[in-house]
Symmetry: C2
Subunit: 326 residues, 2 copies
C-alpha cells in the first residue's frame, strides 16, 4: 500500500516553537543515528499502518468561508468496544441526513467546539429538530467498557517513566493507547480519554440524555475531568483547524449571541456512502514503529532540546494518521 | 477594591460541554453547600486578589478584523525570579516601539502562535529588523531558577492525589503554583511550565539565541517537553482568542505561504506607558480561596459530574485573573 506524505498535523507539532530550525540542523538530524518521531513514522513498514474502515469515517462539510475556502473535517468514529450505541446513532443520523443544515454554534476557548442542534438545550427557546426514529439510548454506564475480568494494572508512575504500554496518569491508575486511541484504565474497566481533537456526545444534566444530536470536539488542553462523564465517539483526524480557528462565542454558555454567526453544516456523510471518499490509515499503536516513535518523542525529538523529561502524558503523544492510496 | 465580574475565560471552561446546563441545575448548585470553583473565586475576599503591576502588563493591539473588530491581547509578564533577563528585553523593545508594525506570522494547530520578526529566522530570506541596543543575552541556564538550597520535594504522586501545594506531574518531581504561575520543580531548581496561553521566547537551535524578537504562545495541549528548553516570559490573561482563532499557517514551519496573510501588530505597549491602561488582578495561588477552588475543581465542579478523578494536572487548573477597578 502506497500512501501520501501528509502526516497528521499532530506530528508537525514536534517542531519547536522557535521554530525556525535551520536547514543545517535538519541536516544534522539526518546524520544522527536516532531518527525523529516523524522519520520513524515515515519509515514504518506498511504492516504497521492500519486502514480505517469507510463506515468509521464521518466527513463534515461546512459552508465555505467568505472568501470561498472549502472546509472539510474528517472524524474517525470510535472503535469497539467503546460507545458503540452512540456511534450507531451517529451513523443513523448521518444516513438520514439529519445533521445537514444544522450549525457549529458554540465555541469556548481552550475547551470545546460544539455542533448539531442547539435547540437540544431545553433552555434555548428554540424548537428542536425531531430526532430520527431508531435512536438508541445507551446508559451512562457505557461511558466505560467493563472488561469482565480483573486487569493487571502496572503502576507506570512507580515504574518511573514512560513506556508505550503504560503511561503514568493523574486521572487514572494508568493510561496508554489501543488501536490508535488514547485510553485510561483501572483494574476492571477501560475508557477513551479527552485529548485534543477527541469528539464526544453533548448531554443535559442527567447522564443518560445524550443521543448524538449535539457533538463537541476538544480545542484546548485536555479536560480530563470529563472522562467517564460523557461518551467519546471519535477524533478529528483531518481539518481540525476548521473547528479550532472558528470565532469564540460570547453569548449564553459561549454560544453565539447572534445566531447568524453560527457556521452552517452543509453536509455530514460516512465515507462508506461516498463514491470518491478519501481513505485514511493510522500508525498502529500496537506496532514496534509506534513504540519507538513514542519513546523518541518522550526522550526529546532533536538537538533543539537540551533538557528532556524522559516522560510524556497520554494526550501529548502524537497518534499519526494519514491519507492512504492504492 | 471593587472589581468587575469578568473572570478569565479559563473559568468559563468549568462549564460542561453539553453544555446546556439547565437553569434548574444552576439553582440546585446555589442550594448545595459546596460552592462551584467560580463561586469560590467570586466570593474570595479582596485580600486574596493581587493586583498586577502596570510594568508587568504588555498590551498588544492587532490590526482590526476585516469587519472592524478591535483586537487587544493582554500578557502578564513573568515574575521574579524567572526569566528576568528576557522580560527586561521585552520591556526595552516595547518602549522602543520595536514590535510596532511587525506581525503574527506562524500558527501551528494544537501547538503555538508566533509573532514578532519572522526574519529572525536565518532561513527566512528576509532582512531582520535591527535589534534595539541594550538587549541582554541571558544564558540558557536561566531557563530555570536555581534555588541555591536543597528543596524538600514532597512526592505528590506517592501522596496519591492533588493538593494546592503539590500536584503529581509526569514531567518533573512535582508541580504546583507560585504567585499565579504554573511551575514545576526538583530538589534544586524551579521553573515555569508550558500551559495553554503561556508566552515564551523563540530561538534558533543554539539554546542561548533567543532575544525576544520572536515570541510564541501555546494554543493547544500543554507541550511540556518544551519546559526548561525555552524561556517562558508571561501568559495571556485577556484576548487569547485573538491569537487562538487566527488561521493556521501552511507554509514552511507553518508560517503563512502568502505573507499578506500575516496579522499586523499595530502596537505593543506596557500598561505603565498608557494613560488609560486597564488594571488586572489575579487570585493569589497562595490564598485559602485558591486552595478551595482548586480542590473543588479537582473533585468535580457540579452535579453534571458523576465520576471524579479526585485529581488534576497543573495545566488544567484555572488560574483566575480579572479586571480590577477602584
Amino acid at each position: 500500500m502506497k500512501r501520501s506524505f501528509s502526516l497528521a498535523a499532530s506530528l508537525a507539532a514536534v517542531a519547536a516553537p522557535c521554530a525556525l530550525t535551520p536547514v543545517s540542523a535538519l541536516a544534522q538530524q539526518a546524520e544522527r543515528p536516532a531518527a525523529t518521531p516523524r522519520e520513524i513514522a515515515d519509515a514504518a513498514p506498511p504492516s504497521d499502518w492500519t486502514e480505517i474502515a469507510p463506515d468509521d469515517l464521518m466527513i463534515i462539510t461546512l459552508a465555505p468561508t467568505e472568501t470561498g475556502e472549502e472546509r472539510q473535517i474528517v472524524i474517525r468514529l470510535m472503535s469497539e468496544p467503546f460507545a458503540q450505541g452512540w456511534v450507531d446513532n451517529l451513523r443513523t443520523l448521518t444516513r438520514a441526513r439529519w445533521y445537514d443544515g444544522l450549525w457549529v454554534y458554540r465555541l469556548v476557548d481552550n475547551f470545546v467546539v460544539q455542533w448539531g442542534d442547539p435547540a437540544s438545550d431545553p433552555d434555548s427557546g428554540e424548537t428542536p429538530r425531531p430526532l430520527h426514529p431508531g435512536m438508541l439510548t445507551p446508559p451512562a454506564s457505557d461511558y466505560v467498557h467493563r472488561t469482565g475480568q480483573t486487569m493487571p494494572v502496572i503502576d507506570p508512575c512507580a515504574a518511573g517513566g514512560f513506556s508505550a504500554e503504560a503511561i503514568c496518569d493523574n486521572f487514572a491508575p494508568a493510561a496508554g493507547f489501543r488501536e490508535g486511541w488514547p485510553v485510561a484504565w483501572d483494574a476492571t474497566s477501560i475508557w477513551p480519554v479527552h485529548c485534543y481533537g477527541m469528539v464526544g456526545v453533548g448531554r443535559n444534566e442527567a447522564p443518560d440524555t445524550g443521543s448524538g444530536s449535539e457533538l463537541y470536539a476538544i480545542i484546548g488542553h485536555a479536560p480530563r475531568r470529563l472522562d467517564r462523564n460523557l461518551a467519546l465517539v471519535g477524533r478529528v483526524i483531518e481539518g481540525m483547524e476548521h473547528f479550532s480557528a472558528l470565532p469564540r462565542g460570547h453569548g449564553r454558555m459561549n454560544t453565539y449571541e447572534d445566531t447568524s454567526d453560527r457556521t452552517p453544516i452543509r453536509s455530514v456523510r460516512l465515507a462508506s456512502e461516498m463514491a470518491d471518499a478519501p481513505r485514511f490509515e493510522y500508525l498502529s499503536t500496537e506496532s514496534d514503529s509506534f513504540a519507538r516513535m513514542a519513546d523518541v518523542f518522550a526522550a526529546g525529538t532533536n538537538d533543539f532540546y537540551t533538557v528532556t523529561a524522559g516522560d510524556t502524558d497520554v494526550c501529548a503523544v502524537p497518534l499519526p494518521v494519514r491519507r492512504a492510496s492504492e
